[in-house]
Structure formats: structure tokens, C-alpha cells
């Protein structure tokens, strides 16, 4: 089992990376074959990603929702699911390269930063034994995945002179992420009240989730009230995702707090 999960994670990393490269080649040269193969990689990656979650659930003997590598697997599987949905709806593959690259790098972080986590069966500690764990972690994963997809679209929109990626579609995805992040924070607070006796304790994870939330709230207001659209809005979406990444990695590896196990 330990070997199996390692193999799957490596395969997943290579699949997402290959997908990204093929998307970049295909979009640059206009080669249809490259784009079709890239699309296949997305689907293979999606299946492998789900397989990784299932194998991890078997190893851990519980739903894989507790540590950072488990969270990363949810993070990427939802990014890819959202991307597939977007690709079908928008009928274009322009953003595939950036989105797959983000997913590949996230899986890469499991291999570099979270070595061995997925092979070990670690039972849940008492504080994590709550139905709120499932709700809180899944809403967070969906929120982060929305922000990742939006950032991927924004990057491609900025990088290309001519693009079919619209400001409105990026905005709609950010809105989805913002709602999910709001739910994550509130559900997290309700849970913290139950587990620790405080709904808000300025723990680094809480604090940075709030800061991230403020960044996107600014984006929503500035875009609507002051009409910050196009390039400026796209830059804000990318900056927002940098905050998401810091809330995830920076807080886990640079700061200590009550959330330090995830």
C-alpha cells in the first residue's frame, strides 16, 4: 500500500506536468494533436487523483481530511474537476497550461515537503473528531480550487495579447471561491468554539484566512464600485492566489499554531 500510493503520486505529478507542457505547446503552435493529448492527460490525472484519495483512505482507515498532503489531494482534484467543467462550458483550452502547472506544482509539494505523510496510518487526534472537519476542509478545498482556477485564467489572460478568457468568467469563479472561503471561516469558527472554547483566537491560520478573504473582498468591491476590470482585476486575482498559497504553505511551514497539523 505504501508503495502503491507513492507510485500513484509520482504518476500523478508526471501526468499533470505533461498535460501542462502539451497545453503550452498546443496553444502556442496550434497543433490539435498536442491539445487533444493534453486533454487526455487532464482526464487520466483526474482518475489517478481520485485513486490516490481512495488508496489514502484505505491506508488511513478514515476519510482523508486531516493532514496537509490529504488536503492537497482534494485541492488538486477539485481544481481539475472545475477546470474540466469550465473547459466544456467555455469551449476553449487556453487556460489548461497554467491550471495544470499549478496542479503539478501542488502535487510536487507533496513529494518535496510532505514526504511519507501519505504512507502512514495516523489516527485522528481528539480535536479533529468532529463532523465539522469534513465540512470545513471540503469547503476550504473548493474555495482554494476556485481561486487556483481563477488565477490560472488570469495568468493566461495577462500573458496573451488576444484571448477569449473573459473578465466576467474569472469574476464568477472568484465569487464562488469567496462564498466557499466565507463558509470555511464561519464553519471553522463554530468548530473552534466547540473544540477550543474560542471562536476566534488569532491563530496564524485563522488570521491569514481572514487576510486572504479581505484581499478578495477588496477585489469584489473595487471591481464593482470603481470598475477595476481587465488587467488590474486579473493582477488582483493572481495576488489573491499568492495569499491563498501563503495561508496554506507559509502558515504551515513558517508559523506555529493550533492549526499546525494541517
Amino acid at each position: 500500500m505504501k508503495l502503491l500510493i507513492t507510485v500513484i503520486i509520482y504518476a500523478l505529478f508526471i501526468t499533470y506536468l505533461l498535460g501542462a507542457v502539451l497545453f503550452f505547446i498546443g496553444n502556442k503552435s496550434g497543433k490539435k494533436q498536442a491539445l487533444l493529448t493534453a486533454g487526455l492527460m487532464v482526464k487520466i490525472g483526474f482518475v489517478l487523483n481520485i485513486a490516490a484519495l481512495i488508496v489514502r483512505a484505505v491506508i488511513a482507515g478514515r476519510l482523508p481530511l486531516a493532514n496537509s498532503s490529504e488536503f492537497t489531494l482534494w485541492f488538486t482534484v477539485i481544481i481539475v474537476a472545475l477546470y474540466l467543467f469550465y473547459e466544456t462550458k467555455a469551449k476553449m483550452r487556453e487556460a489548461g497550461g497554467a491550471v495544470m502547472l499549478i496542479s503539478a506544482l501542488l502535487i510536487g509539494s507533496i513529494l518535496v515537503l510532505m514526504k511519507g505523510q501519505l504512507g502512514e496510518a495516523v489516527p485522528l487526534m481528539p480535536a479533529l473528531k468532529s463532523p465539522w472537519l469534513t465540512i470545513h476542509v471540503l469547503t476550504a478545498a473548493v474555495a482554494y480550487a476556485c481561486f487556483a482556477l481563477a488565477a490560472g485564467l488570469a495568468i493566461m489572460q495577462l500573458a496573451k495579447a488576444e484571448t477569449k478568457i473573459t473578465d466576467g468568467s474569472i469574476h464568477r469563479i472568484v465569487v464562488g471561491g469567496f462564498v466557499m472561503l466565507s463558509l470555511t471561516i464561519v464553519f471553522g469558527a463554530v468548530w473552534a468554539e466547540q473544540a477550543w472554547g474560542n471562536y476566534w483566537s488569532w491563530d496564524p491560520k485563522e488570521t491569514w484566512a481572514l487576510i486572504t478573504w479581505i484581499v478578495y473582498a477588496l477585489y469584489l468591491h473595487l471591481r464593482r464600485r470603481l470598475g477595476w476590470k481587465g488587467k488590474t482585476a486579473s493582477i488582483m486575482v493572481i495576488v489573491g492566489f499568492v495569499f491563498v498559497l501563503f495561508t496554506f504553505f507559509g502558515v504551515n511551514y513558517l508559523m506555529s499554531g493550533l492549526h499546525s497539523y494541517a
Binding site: 473528531k129 464562488g176 466565507s182 464561519v186 472554547g197 468591491h221 508559523m255
Partner: protein
């Protein structure tokens, strides 16, 4: 009058709100990086939050006043209007709850030994005092020896009558008359006996780190630590929390001089001096509960609920009709 209007206009504007929001974000980032324990309790940060609250109260009030006319004007966006109002009012409630918590909230730690009763009103001010009696404290373990749950079996006693019995465990606090009790920590007292020359036995309950002074010798025994699962390879740290191989680490002194250190099993007779023995008969757990009373909690909860519902319906359920509203807003909001 002009000035008041101007100040009110400034305080209630969304731009001011956004600037304040950025300030809170920057302050929180710096605070979390450099001085988390001090900064978030500082008056500077609290002041910032209070100004933000004032701004949001005013701007939400403004929007409440405008609510009806905006509903009529934007009839096809009524869900968004309601959601938007709910979410902003929700944030105000949360901040108000936090404020009440800061001024009227009470926190205390209560340690109770099995069989003991503690008068809660001694640490938390309340109108109708009650006591908490600990019947039992039990730790449950996973297969690998790690703890899976901590349980305090308690009885609530009010006016000498048993009112309630409950199990307090992590994620399952007890709420009684607005005071909430959380399982926070636990510890052990060591049951020590010493037997001297004359055959006298004396029993004591000792806190870790304290000394036993047996009669009939100058020597003293420090009960250093209880180790539930002793393994020489792990030294003074327990291998797991489950009591698979319990030992008491103790040291023997004569005056200031350390004579030796040992790891005694339960019921093992340890000779301290000629014909003076110490026996560690076992341990008695005590629980540490956090007691909290926060009159602002219902307010914050209500606000959280309003916010969640508001965000969801404002942004998801409503159709986004960006072009139409652009003109109509710039007039209303500075």
C-alpha cells in the same frame, strides 16, 4: 451641521470601509508575523476594529434606509439586495459579539480530582451558583497507543441537588446556565506510601515535582514524573500516552545532594534508607476544564448565520447583471 454631515459621510462611506479593511489586513499580517500574543490584544488593534465596526454600522444603516427604494428600482435583483444586507448586517453582529466578549466574557481553568466538587461561582461570576463534581476521568486510546478521546464524567450540583450529569470530552462541551465547560487538559497525582522502621505506613497524594519526607530518615524523595509507557530508549518522554508500562521517575536526596534516580513500577518497594521504603501505589487522574461565560456568543452566532446565508444568496442565487447597475450605484455610494 455641515461638519457633522461631512464626518458622517466620511465615516459611513464604503471607501473608508475598504481602507479600514486594508489596514486591518496589514495590521493582522504584521501582528501574526512579529508579536501575535501582544499585538492582537493591544488597544491599537482593538481601536481599529472598533472604527471598522462604526463604519459598518453606519453604512449598513444607510443601506437599510435605502433598502426599499433600491428594491423597487432593482426589482429583478431583490435576492441579491436581501443577501447583501444580511451579509453586511451579519458582519456588524459578529463584531458586536466580539466587543461584548471583550468586556463581559469570563474565562477560567478548573482542575478537579476524581471524587471532588468545585464551586464554579468562585471562578466565574454568576447569579445562580452551582458546583461541578467529577465522578471519573477516562482517557480512551487508539490501537497505537495515541489518545483518541479524553472524557470527564461530571455531575452538576445546584442548591445541594443533583441537576444534571454529563460527559465532557474534546469537541463535546457542557453548557449549563450559559457557562460552557471544555475538556482542556489533564494530569496525574501520584499515590505514594512510605513504610518506616516501626512498620508505620503513611499514604500521601503527591503532585509531580514535589517531595516526600519519610519519617525515620534524613533523606527525601522527589516524585519527578509519572511515565505511562516507559521505554529506556525514549528517556524521560513516554513512548505513548497509554499506560502500557507505567513507571514513576523519582530521585533521592540527602540535603542538597542527589543520591540517585530511579524508575519504579507500581507497588514496587524501593529502599530509601535502612529500613525505610517508599511504594508508589498508582496514580489518580485529575481533569482540567476550561470554563467560559460569553454573553456575546449568541450575538456572534446570529451574525455568523446571517453572514453565511447572506453571502450565499447574494452571490450565488442572484443572477449577475453587471451592466445595468453600474450607473445606478455611483450616485448612491460615495
Amino acid at each position: 451641521m455641515e461638519i457633522i454631515k461631512k464626518v458622517y459621510g466620511y465615516l459611513s462611506s464604503m471607501k473608508t470601509g475598504l481602507v479600514l479593511l486594508v489596514l486591518v489586513g496589514v495590521a493582522a499580517a504584521l501582528g501574526s508575523a512579529f508579536l501575535p500574543d501582544v499585538f492582537f490584544n493591544s488597544w491599537l488593534f482593538k481601536l481599529l476594529l472598533i472604527i471598522l465596526s462604526v463604519n459598518m454600522v453606519f453604512c449598513t444603516a444607510n443601506r437599510f434606509i435605502l433598502f426599499k427604494s433600491r428594491l423597487i428600482k432593482n426589482r429583478n435583483r431583490w435576492l441579491r439586495e436581501i443577501g447583501s444586507l444580511l451579509l453586511h448586517a451579519g458582519i456588524v453582529f459578529i463584531l458586536a459579539g466580539l466587543l461584548v466578549h471583550t468586556y463581559y466574557g469570563q474565562n477560567a481553568q478548573i482542575a478537579i480530582r476524581t471524587g471532588d466538587t468545585v464551586d464554579v461561582s468562585r471562578v466565574i461570576k454568576m447569579k445562580e451558583p452551582f458546583s461541578l463534581h467529577l465522578d471519573d476521568f477516562k482517557v480512551e486510546y487508539n490501537e497505537d497507543g495515541s489518545p483518541s478521546q479524553y472524557n470527564s464524567y461530571v455531575i452538576v450540583i445546584e442548591n445541594r441537588k443533583v441537576k444534571n450529569d454529563a460527559v465532557i470530552s474534546v469537541n463535546h462541551p457542557l453548557n449549563y446556565r450559559g457557562v460552557k465547560f471544555y475538556q482542556q487538559s489533564y494530569g496525574y497525582l501520584v499515590k505514594a506510601k512510605y513504610i518506616n522502621d516501626a512498620g508505620n505506613e503513611v499514604e500521601e497524594l503527591i503532585k509531580e515535582g514535589n517531595f516526600i519526607r519519610p519519617e525515620g530518615t534524613e533523606r527525601t524523595v522527589k516524585v519527578f514524573r509519572y511515565i505511562p509507557n516507559f521505554d529506556p530508549e525514549h528517556g524521560m518522554a513516554t513512548k505513548t500516552l497509554r499506560p502500557d508500562n507505567p513507571r514513576i521517575i523519582f530521585s533521592v536526596y540527602e540535603g542538597d545532594q542527589l543520591l540517585g534516580v530511579g524508575a519504579a513500577q507500581f507497588d514496587e518497594r524501593v529502599e530509601i534508607d535502612e529500613n525505610v521504603y517508599v511504594v508508589f501505589a498508582g496514580v489518580e487522574p485529575y481533569t482540567i476544564l476550561k470554563a467560559k461565560s460569553d454573553p456575546g456568543l449568541p450575538l456572534a452566532f446570529l451574525g455568523g448565520g446571517m453572514f453565511v446565508i447572506g453571502v450565499t444568496i447574494a452571490l450565488l442565487a442572484a443572477p449577475s447583471q453587471e451592466k445595468k447597475q453600474e450607473g445606478s450605484f455611483n450616485k448612491e455610494m460615495r
